[in-house]
C-alpha cells in the first residue's frame, strides 16, 4: 500500500500521556489516568506537499507533528517515512534520518540558545551530523544559508547573540537552522504566530521559497485556518486528538462539512467591517483531553448533535473525492478506510 509519492504517513497514531499522581492516590485507585493527546490519527503526505494541521490548542496537532518526527514515541500506531516503518527504530537507527527531518518551533525567543551566537546555532546540526569535512566548509555552509534567509551581511549576523536580533530575525535563524541540512521533511509548528502581522508574510514567503527550491515537504501546524488557506495544498482539521475533516484547503474553506470546521471558519476575525460573519460563533471551550466526551467528542459543543453522536464515534469517510469528514451528518454506513 506504500506508494513512492508519499513522504510521511501516520497510521492510527495514538499518544496517551500518563498523568502523574501521588503515591497515596495510586493506592486508592488502580486505574491509570491518561491525557489522550492524539487518539487514532491517520493521514498521508505527498512529496513536495505543504500539509496543514489545524486546530485549537489542546487538539493534539503539535503532538502529532512530534510523533511524525519520532520526537516522542506513539502509544499505538505506525509512522512511515519514505515507505519505511520508522516506529520501532532506535535512536541510533534514527540518526541518519534526522538529517532529513527538521522542526521549526513556535517561539523564536525560546527556541534559540541565548548563550550561543547565530553561527553556532546554525552550525550545530552540521556538527552533530558531521556533514562538513573542514571548518572552512562549515563556515561556508552557514554563510550560504544565512544569506538564503536574507540575513545580510551573513558575516555580521554570525557573531550576534539571539537577544541582539528582532523577533523576525530570530525566526529567520530558526528557519536557517532547519534548512541547513537540506531536509526533505519539515514540521513547522506555528512558525509565525508569535510575530507581528506585518512580518508574518515575509517569513512565510521565505519558508515557501526555500521549500520550493529544495522540493521539501512541510507539515504546517497552525491554529489559523486563514493562514493555512494561503499556504497549504491540503489541510486536516483536528479536534481533541482526532481528525474531523481532511481535504484540499480551498474545498474545505468553501464547503466545510464538519460543524467544527464551520465554527473555526466563522471565528476567524474579518478585517472588513461591512461584511458579516459567515456563521454563528459556537459556545464553550475545548473539553479536557483527560476525559473526552464519549461518541463524537465534539457533540458537547455541536449545534447539530443528536443521540447517535453521544455514543458512536463517527468514522472518517470520503464524502466526496479527496474530501474526508468524520461526522454522523454526512456518513453513510459501510464506508470506512484510511485516507490516501
Amino acid at each position: 500500500m506504500e506508494d513512492d509519492e508519499s513522504i510521511v504517513a501516520a497510521e492510527k497514531l495514538k499518544k496517551y500521556f500518563p498523568i502523574k499522581r501521588g503515591f497515596l492516590e495510586t493506592l486508592v485507585s488502580r486505574t491509570d489516568v491518561f491525557v489522550k493527546a492524539v487518539d487514532g490519527v491517520s493521514f498521508r503526505m505527498q512529496k513536495g506537499e505543504i500539509f496543514g494541521l489545524v486546530g485549537e490548542s489542546g487538539s493534539g496537532k503539535t503532538t502529532t507533528g512530534r510523533l511524525l518526527l519520532r520526537l516522542t514515541d506513539p502509544t499505538e500506531g505506525k509512522v512511515t517515512y519514505k515507505g519505511r516503518d520508522i516506529t520501532g527504530l532506535s535512536s541510533r537507527q534514527m540518526k541518519p534520518l534526522r538529517r532529513e527531518m527538521q522542526i521549526i518551533f513556535q517561539d523564536p525567543f525560546e527556541s534559540l540558545d541565548p548563550h550561543m551566537v547565530v553561527k553556532d546555532i546554525v552550525a550545530e546540526p552540521l556538527r552533530i551530523q558531521k556533514a562538513t569535512k573542514s571548518r572552512e566548509e562549515l563556515d561556508e555552509r552557514v554563510k550560504q544559508i544565512l544569506s538564503e534567509v536574507e540575513l545580510f551581511p551573513p558575516e555580521e549576523f554570525m557573531l550576534r547573540f539571539p537577544h541582539e536580533l528582532s523577533g523576525g530575525q530570530r525566526q529567520r535563524v530558526a528557519v536557517a537552522r532547519a534548512f541547513v541540512l537540506h531536509p526533505d521533511f519539515i514540521v513547522a509548528d506555528e512558525p509565525v504566530s508569535m510575530l507581528d502581522v506585518s512580518i508574518r508574510a515575509e517569513i512565510l514567503a521565505l519558508m515557501l521559497s526555500l521549500v520550493e527550491k529544495r522540493g521539501a515537504s512541510v507539515l504546517l501546524v497552525t491554529h489559523d485556518l486563514a493562514l493555512a488557506r494561503h499556504v497549504c495544498n491540503r489541510v486536516a482539521v483536528m479536534y481533541l486528538g482526532r481528525i474531523v475533516e481532511l481535504g484540499n484547503t480551498e474545498t474545505i474553506v468553501a464547503n466545510p462539512l464538519h460543524p467544527y470546521t464551520r465554527a473555526l471558519i466563522a471565528a476567524v476575525p474579518v478585517p472588513d467591517p461591512s461584511s458579516k460573519r459567515l456563521g454563528e460563533v459556537i459556545s464553550g471551550e475545548i473539553p479536557s483531553p483527560v476525559a473526552p466526551p464519549p461518541g463524537c467528542n465534539f457533540h458537547t459543543r455541536c449545534p447539530y448533535a443528536h443521540l447517535r453522536c453521544t455514543s458512536e464515534v463517527p468514522p472518517l469517510i470520503e464524502v466526496e473525492k479527496d474530501h474526508w469528514a468524520a461526522c454522523h451528518l454526512v456518513d453513510r454506513p459501510s464506508q470506512d478506510s484510511t485516507p490516501a
Binding site: 490548542s57 508574518r200 512565510l204 486563514a226 493562514l227 473555526l264 476567524v268 472588513d272 461584511s275 460563533v281
Partner: protein, 316 residues
C-alpha cells in the same frame, strides 16, 4: 469623553530618551470604540498607560493634554488619579493568563477592587455584585470562588473583563484582548466586548496589532507607526480605502478566509529604533513611495476626502 491632544511620552534610558509616543491626538466619544493598531513597539501600550498615568519608572509625559470629561489628567497627583482609575477609566491588561493574582480566589480579587473604589459597599454586597459581573461576562457565577489556575484561558479573559467593569467605568481600555486565546474563544470574547459596549454604553479604546480584531468591535480606527499616528478614520474607510502606505501594507499582509486567495505582501524592513527615529516621516525608509520631502519634514495629519478620514502623508 476622552480627548488626547498632542500627547508625547518618552522613556528615559541610559542611552537617551526613547520617543515611544509623539504628538498623539484623538478623541473618543461616549459609547464609541476606537481601535489603536500598530506593530509591537509602536507605542500603543505606552499611550494606554499614559492615559491612566501608570507608566513604568523612567516613563514621562513630556507634552500634551489628556482631557477626560473636560478635565486634564496630566497635572493630577497620584491620589487624584486614583479616583479616576477604575471608576472613570479602567483597563484590561494584555496577557489573560498572567494578569490575575494566582494566590487569591477570583471573587476576592474582584471584591477588593470594588471595595477599594467604593468603600461604603459592604462585603456581602460586593460579593453579590461580583457574581452579577460574572453573569454579565458569561461565566458560571458558581465558579467565582475558584482560583485563577482552575480557569481556562477564555474564562480568565472574561474574569479580567468583569474585574475591569467592577466600579462601573465610563471608558474601558483593552490591551490586546484575545491575542493569547484560540480563534473560537477569541471570537467569543470579541462578541462579549461588542455586547458590553452596547448594553452599558461603554466607551472603549482597543489596542491590537491585528486590524481584523479591532474591526470586529470598533467604529473608528487609528493606525500608529513608530510612536506617531499615521491614519485615522472609520473602520470601514480604513479597510476599504487605506490611504497611508503603511496601512496599505498592513492590510496586504493579512491572510483572509474569504474572497480570492491573494498573495500576501509584507512590508519590507524593520520598525525603527525609537532612540533615534528617522527624520521627517518615520515610515520613509520602508515606504515604496518615499519622496525627498518625506525625509525632511514630518507630515501632519490632515483631512482627506469626505467624512472623518485623516492621514499623515505627503501623497495626499
Amino acid at each position: 469623553m476622552l480627548q488626547l491632544d498632542g500627547l508625547t511620552t518618552n522613556y528615559r534610558t541610559l542611552r537617551g530618551w526613547v520617543r515611544a509616543a509623539e504628538d498623539v491626538s484623538f478623541t473618543v466619544e461616549k459609547g464609541e470604540a476606537l481601535g489603536l493598531v500598530g506593530e509591537s513597539g509602536c507605542g500603543k501600550t505606552t499611550v494606554a498607560l499614559s492615559i491612566l498615568k501608570l507608566l513604568p519608572s523612567g516613563g514621562r509625559i513630556r507634552r500634551g493634554k489628556i482631557l477626560f470629561n473636560g478635565e486634564d489628567l496630566v497635572p493630577l497627583s497620584d491620589k487624584e488619579m486614583r479616583k479616576i482609575r477604575w471608576k472613570g477609566i479602567s483597563i484590561v491588561f494584555q496577557g489573560a493568563m498572567n494578569a490575575l493574582n494566582p494566590v487569591f480566589k477570583v471573587r476576592d480579587q474582584i471584591v477588593e477592587a470594588i471595595r477599594l473604589h467604593e468603600p461604603d459597599v459592604s462585603k456581602s454586597d460586593a460579593k453579590k455584585r461580583a457574581e452579577g459581573l460574572f453573569e454579565m461576562v458569561g461565566v458560571e457565577p458558581s465558579r467565582i470562588t475558584n482560583y485563577p489556575h482552575e480557569f481556562s484561558g477564555g474564562m480568565r479573559q472574561r474574569a479580567l473583563i468583569a474585574m475591569a467593569l467592577a466600579a462601573n467605568p465610563q471608558l474601558l481600555i483593552a490591551d490586546e484582548p484575545g491575542t493569547a486565546l484560540d480563534v473560537i474563544v477569541q471570537a467569543q470574547v470579541l462578541q462579549l466586548m461588542r455586547s458590553l459596549k452596547e448594553k452599558l454604553g461603554l466607551s472603549m479604546v482597543m489596542i491590537s496589532h491585528d486590524l481584523s480584531i479591532v474591526a470586529e468591535v470598533c467604529e473608528n480606527v487609528a493606525i500608529m507607526y513608530a510612536g506617531q499616528l499615521v491614519e485615522y478614520g472609520s473602520a470601514e474607510a480604513i479597510f476599504k480605502e487605506p490611504l497611508h502606505p503603511y496601512t496599505q501594507g498592513l492590510i496586504g499582509a493579512f491572510p483572509s478566509i474569504r474572497g480570492e486567495r491573494k498573495k500576501l505582501v509584507s512590508i519590507p524592513g524593520q520598525p525603527p529604533d525609537l532612540l533615534s527615529p528617522p527624520t521627517g516621516c518615520r515610515f520613509h525608509p520602508r515606504c515604496p513611495y518615499a519622496m525627498d520631502v518625506c525625509k525632511k519634514e514630518k507630515p501632519q495629519l490632515k483631512k482627506v476626502g469626505s467624512g472623518n478620514h485623516y492621514v499623515a502623508c505627503y501623497l495626499y
